[in-house]
């Protein structure tokens, strides 16, 4: 099927830092990694240099299931530079089954069909040369 992604080909590359390298390395293999605090038994996202629960540097990287639901969304009619002349696109906050939220795009969904609570699954697009995690209807 053809991909519905108004931002395709225009996404600027993310700027990783030293402690997020495992995340972007895994993204090359289309794996979404989350930081996990084994003492708190909780995941966190976005990646931090420390467990936000305990303040300890006890974090592990674990692969996410890639399943979630839409917590909220907005249909955007404009995008800031470097994007140019995009048609309406969807920004979503997805609540993953691991108990964290990811803010990204919903692709392969017409803007008038997105709904809060909708089940979604992980997909990958290019942002610069890197793989970037987005979601699509499940």
């Amino acid at each position: 099927m053809s991909t519905l992604d108004p931002l395709a080909g225009q996404r600027p590359a993310p700027v990783p830092c030293n402690f997020t390298k495992p995340f972007w390395d895994a993204a090359r293999e289309c794996k979404l990694l989350l930081q996990y605090d084994p003492d708190a038994g909780k995941y966190q996202f976005y990646p931090r240099p420390i467990s936000i629960f305990s303040g300890r540097r006890n974090l592990e990287w674990r692969e996410a299931s890639g399943k979630g639901t839409i917590y909220t969304y907005t249909v955007s009619y404009k995008a800031p530079p470097p994007f140019k002349g995009v048609s309406p696109f969807i920004v979503v906050t997805v609540e993953l089954s691991e108990g964290v939220r990811v803010m990204t795009n919903l692709i392969n969904c017409p803007p008038d069909q997105v709904k809060i609570g909708m089940p979604v699954r992980l997909a990958w697009v290019k942002a610069g040369e890197l793989n970037f995690p987005v979601f699509e209807p499940d």
Binding site: P14, C17, S76, T93, R101
Partner: protein, 398 residues
């Protein structure tokens, strides 16, 4: 947690004795230092004190000189200030109200006697801001329209949970615009009448955020003179406004990974400020909430206790929020109708509240001017609502 932070000022031992606000302009071409100079000159003249009285300086960070790691002392040097205490506060729109509390703390601890609280920015003329961190890594690739996008996400969720009434937002837009029409310091481009229908017809930016939900970035500056009440009396200050309650909450619900994004730190900050002031929301005589987006006003009405959670739109429809009404709101026009002077924008509503309590608001003077509540909103964290909240309650000296 310091539940006593509001009591820093509740004994009326701190006084605001002068203020000034520049004209808010779009792309003025003015240097942020020039704007700051006008604000300081105006504030000390209004307070009736000499420059040498200023021995403390609390300034809001700005976009125009954002690359300068020595901003506060450099700006103080431009202003000819020799100081015993200074700091820059980077709580965004919460900086100005936060700086009144910081000035009070500095005075109380003996660091200095009289503080110039100043906020200046010329963001629409010069922006050297570069906010990296998670934005560079996880936000910019998504194409979200910055704050309008984040408030689109928030508004959609609020609508899902409680129902969002666009007519109530339109009424807020119209009420604030009517106030800006009466404020000759407001940005001229915005001083045109506006109806609820104009609001409803304004184009969607990041659905459900419309263009008229948003602030327009401008240039401008404000300043306040804050000192001890004892010193104010020694200086023969002709009028005084006392800050009597304060609360601050930074990075609300930080460790919750799936929080209710309609819940904000103003619930905590407001409780502290009201408790310190010994007031309830129904006793607040005018309300000057930080307004980067109209829905922020609705959320604050709810979380500060003016109405129940989820009833903010109904509250707006049931009350007269004009300067003549039962709860006058952002009588200077708010940032949305007066223009947002970059990161100095948080001082606009603060100065308007002080102006009202001094009884110097001219044609838009509120009738009841014993007290006023001012709020601030700081930065926007990843995938959430705003992270920093301040609440400051002011009282006119009798």
């Amino acid at each position: 947690m310091s539940y006593d932070q509001g009591r820093l000022i509740s004994d009326r031992g701190i006084a605001i004795i002068g203020y000034y606000e520049t004209k808010i302009e779009l792309k003025s071409g003015r240097s942020v230092y020039d704007l700051a100079g006008e604000a300081m000159a105006g504030a000390i003249a209004h307070a009736g004190i000499g420059k040498s009285e200023i021995d403390g300086f609390a300034v809001s960070s700005c976009f125009s000189d954002a690359g300068n790691p020595f901003y506060a002392p450099v700006l103080a040097s431009y202003l000819g200030l020799e100081l015993d205490w200074c700091q820059v506060t980077d709580l965004g729109g919460a900086s100005a109200s936060g700086n009144v509390a910081r000035a009070a703390a500095a005075i109380r601890s003996g660091m200095c006697d009289t503080v110039l609280v100043l906020a200046a920015d010329a963001q629409s003329s010069e922006n050297k801001g570069a906010i990296g961190a998670f934005r560079s890594e996880f936000q910019y690739s998504v194409g979200i329209m910055g704050p309008p996008g984040y408030f689109g996400l928030l508004s959609r969720r609020y609508d899902h949970q409680y129902g969002l009434d666009p007519k109530a937002l339109g009424k807020l837009a119209m009420t604030q615009r009517n106030h800006a029409l009466m404020n000759d310091k407001a940005c001229e481009k915005l001083r045109r009448p506006l109806t609820i229908e104009d609001y409803l017809a304004s184009p969607m930016i990041s659905d459900p955020i419309r263009m008229l939900d948003c602030v327009m970035v401008c240039d401008g500056a404000s300043a306040l003179v804050v000192t001890s009440t004892t010193r104010a009396q020694e200086l023969g200050a002709r009028k005084r406004v006392h800050p009597i309650g304060y609360g601050e909450r930074i990075n609300h619900l930080e460790t919750e990974q799936c929080p209710d994004i309609t819940a904000i730190g103003h619930s905590v900050a407001g409780t502290r400020a009201l408790k310190a002031a010994g007031l309830t929301p129904t006793q607040i005589q005018s309300f000057h909430p930080y307004d980067d987006f109209l829905i922020a006003i609705v959320l604050q009405l709810e979380q500060l206790g003016f109405c129940e959670i989820g009833r903010g739109c109904r509250f707006v429809m049931e009350h007269d929020l004009s300067y003549r009404g039962d709860l006058p709101l952002n009588t200077g026009g708010g940032q949305i109708s007066a223009g947002q002077a970059g990161l100095a924008g948080g001082a606009h509503n603060l100065v308007e509240a002080v102006r009202q309590l001094f009884g110097e608001a001219g044609a838009r003077q509120v009738k009841r001017r014993d007290n006023a509540m001012v709020t601030g909103i700081g930065w926007i964290p990843y995938g959430r609502n705003w992270a920093s909240s301040t609440v400051l309650i002011l009282e006119a000296a009798q």
